[in-house]
Symmetry: C2
C-alpha cells in the first residue's frame, strides 16, 4: 500500500464548503439520494472512493439518507491487491462502517468469457456491488466517478466512434447505481482528504500508456488544459449535457421505432415514407435500432446507416448489412435476417 | 513561398478514385452543389484549397456544376503573403481559371474592431468571398475545410464550453458557403495533389503552440491517434452527427420559445408550468435563448441556466443574471432587463 499525501490547498474553509455544496447540488439536481435511502459505497481504496465515503457521511448529517456499509472487491490483479484490501478494512473501522469484501479471479473470468480485463473487472464489480447492497439492506450503490473520469470517458467514447448513437459520458444515475462526484475534480477530492487527515492507495496500473484511457488521462487531457484552461471541467459538463440530449433523442426514436417497424418472423418491415419524412436525428436512430436488431451483436456503424438510407431513398436497390440484407419492396423497407435472406 | 512535396502513397488508382468518390458522396448527402451551380473557390494557396480546386474541376466533368473563378485574400499578416498571392495567381492560370484578389489590412481591422486576429481574418475573408462570388456570377462559395479542421473545431468548441447549446463542428453548408472536403483528411488531399503534380504553400503561423487550435492540431490529436487509431476521423464524424442533433433540437426549442415566451417592453414573460413540463434538452435551450436575449452579448453559461431553473422550480426566489434579473410572479417567470430591474 502506497500512502499518498497531496499538496496543500489555500482558502481552506471556503473551499471545503464549496466542495460539499457542489456534491449536494449534483445530488439534488439528479435526485441521487431520495429521503430515507440506505446507501452502500463501493470502495477501491483510491482517493475517489475514500473521499466519496467521507463526503457522504458528512452530508448525511444534514440530510435524510444513511451510509450503511462499504464494499470492496479484491480483483487479484495487482500485486498491491492484498494491501489495498487491508487498507479498506482499516478505513472502514476508522469510519465506523461495516465492510463487505469479496475476492474474485478477474483474470480467469476475462479469459473464459473473452472479455478485456477492464470489461471483466467492471462486470464482476457491479455484480458484486449488487449482491453486497442486498446483503447490507441498501437500496442505492454509490460509486466514486469524478469529473476527470467523466471527461476521460467522453473522449474515449468519442475516439472510438460512439458519435452515432449520441455522445455523452457516465450517467449520474443508472438503476440502483448513483455517482454523486461527477461535478468534482480528483484534485479537489484529494485536497479535501488531506484536510480530513485521510490517506488513500494509488493504483500503479493506471500509469500504463498502452491503455487508451491512461493515455487520455496522462497525455491528452493535460495538453487540452494547456490549449484551454478548465478543459476537463468543460468536457465533463458537455458530456453531461450531451448525455441528456442523447437520452431524450433515444427515447423519441424508441417510440418512433414502435410506430414505423413491424416484425414478421425473420424480417422487419419499416414504413419507408414515414422514415424518410422524419428529421435526421430520429431517422438515424430508428435505422440504428432496426439494423442492430438483426446484427447478432455485431457493430453497426455510420456506413451501414448510410447504405440503408440509400435503399430508402431509392439510390440503391439493396444493402448487405451485418447479419441482414435490406431491400425496398412496395414502399416498405424489408430487413431480412441473414438466414432468411440466403 | 515554401513549396512542399508530400510522401508517396501506395495503391494509387484505387485510392484516387476513393477520394473523388468520398467527396462526391459528401456533395450528394448534403446537397452541396445543385445542378447548374456556378461555383467560386476560396483559395489560400494551402494544400486544402488547392486540392479543393482540382477535385471540383475533376468532379465537374461528370456533373452539372462549374468552377467559374478562384478568389484569394491577401491578409497582409505573414511575411510570405506576397509570395502566396503570386503562387495563387500562377496556379489559377495553370488551371485556366480567372482569379479575384484583394489585399486587406486584417491586423488594423482586428485592432479597431477589437476582434482577435483569427476572428477578424474570418470575417473579412467571408465578406470578401461574398463580394467576389457576386462579381464572378457564382451562386456558391466552396471552401476547403477538411476532416482535420472538423475534428480540431469540435475539440476547440468542446474545451471552450460550447456544450450548452449542443456540440457540433463546421457545417457542410451555411448559406452560399459549401464545404465538400469535410469527410477527407489533409493527408489524403496532399497525396492526391502529389499525384496530380501540384504543389502548395505552407502556412508557418500554423506552428505556434500558443494558439489553442495549433496545440490541438499538433499535440492533442496526435496523442488521441496514439490512444486510438482513426481518432480524428471518428471525432469529425461525431461532430457532424452532433451538429445534426443540435441543429434539430435548436429548431424545436425555437418553436417552443415562441409558444412559451412573450416580450413586453423590457421584460420577457415565460410560461413557467409549460417550461417545467418540457424535457431537459428543450427546457435548457429555451432558457438559454431567453437569457441571451437580455444579456447584451455577455456569455450565458450552464450556471446561469441552473440559477434560472432554481427560480422556476421554486428553489430560489430570484436570480441575478447577465444583464437581467429573473423572478417568479403569479406562475410566470419574469425576466427583467437590468435597466428595468433597478
Amino acid at each position: 500500500v502506497k500512502a499518498v499525501s497531496p499538496k496543500r490547498c489555500g482558502a481552506k474553509a471556503d473551499f471545503l464548503s464549496a466542495l460539499l455544496q457542489k456534491v449536494r447540488r449534483s445530488v439534488r439536481r439528479h435526485h441521487l439520494l431520495p429521503a430515507g435511502s440506505p446507501v452502500l459505497v463501493g470502495l477501491s481504496g483510491g482517493s475517489d472512493s475514500v473521499a466519496l465515503t467521507v463526503v457522504l457521511q458528512e452530508l448525511s448529517r444534514h440530510a435524510d439518507f444513511r451510509v450503511v456499509a462499504l464494499a470492496h472487491l479484491n480483483h487479484q490483479i495487482r500485486t498491491a491487491a492484498p494491501g489495498d484490501e487491508a487498507f479498506c478494512r482499516a478505513f472502514a473501522e476508522r469510519r465506523g462502517l461495516p465492510i463487505l469484501v469479496e475476492s474474485l479471479d478477474v483474470r480467469g473470468y476475462a479469459a473464459t468469457q473473452r472479455y478485456s480485463i477492464e470489461d471483466a473487472a467492471r462486470r464482476l464489480r457491479y455484480d458484486f456491488l449488487t449482491r453486497a447492497a442486498a446483503q447490507a439492506g441498501a437500496t442505492l450503490i454509490a460509486v466514486g466517478h469524478t469529473q476527470d473520469d467523466q471527461a476521460e470517458t467522453f473522449l474515449l467514447k468519442l475516439v472510438r466512434g460512439a458519435g452515432l448513437t449520441g455522445l455523452g459520458g457516465i450517467y449520474p444515475r443508472r438503476g440502483a447505481v448513483v455517482r454523486p462526484l461527477l461535478d468534482v475534480s480528483r484534485m479537489e477530492l484529494q485536497a479535501f482528504l488531506h484536510d480530513r487527515g485521510e490517506t488513500w492507495v494509488d493504483d500503479e496500473t493506471n500509469q500504463d500508456l498502452a491503455n487508451p484511457r491512461n493515455r487520455i488521462r496522462h497525455r491528452v487531457l493535460p495538453e487540452l488544459e494547456l490549449a484551454y484552461g478548465g478543459a476537463a471541467r468543460a468536457i465533463a459538463r458537455a458530456a453531461g449535457l450531451a448525455g441528456e440530449d442523447g437520452q431524450w433523442l433515444d427515447d423519441l426514436a424508441e417510440r418512433r421505432y414502435a410506430e414505423l417497424c413491424i416484425r414478421r418472423d425473420q424480417t422487419l418491415e419499416i414504413d419507408c415514407a414515414g422514415l424518410i419524412a422524419d428529421p435526421g436525428p430520429i431517422r438515424r436512430r430508428v435505422l440504428f435500432r432496426a439494423l442492430r436488431s438483426a446484427s447478432g451483436g455485431r457493430e453497426i456503424g455510420l456506413d451501414h446507416i448510410e447504405a440503408a438510407l440509400a435503399v430508402a431513398t431509392g439510390d440503391a436497390a439493396a444493402a448487405d448489412l451485418p447479419g441482414s440484407r435490406l431491400e425496398l419492396r412496395r414502399g416498405k423497407l424489408v430487413l431480412l435476417e441473414q438466414d432468411a435472406a440466403s
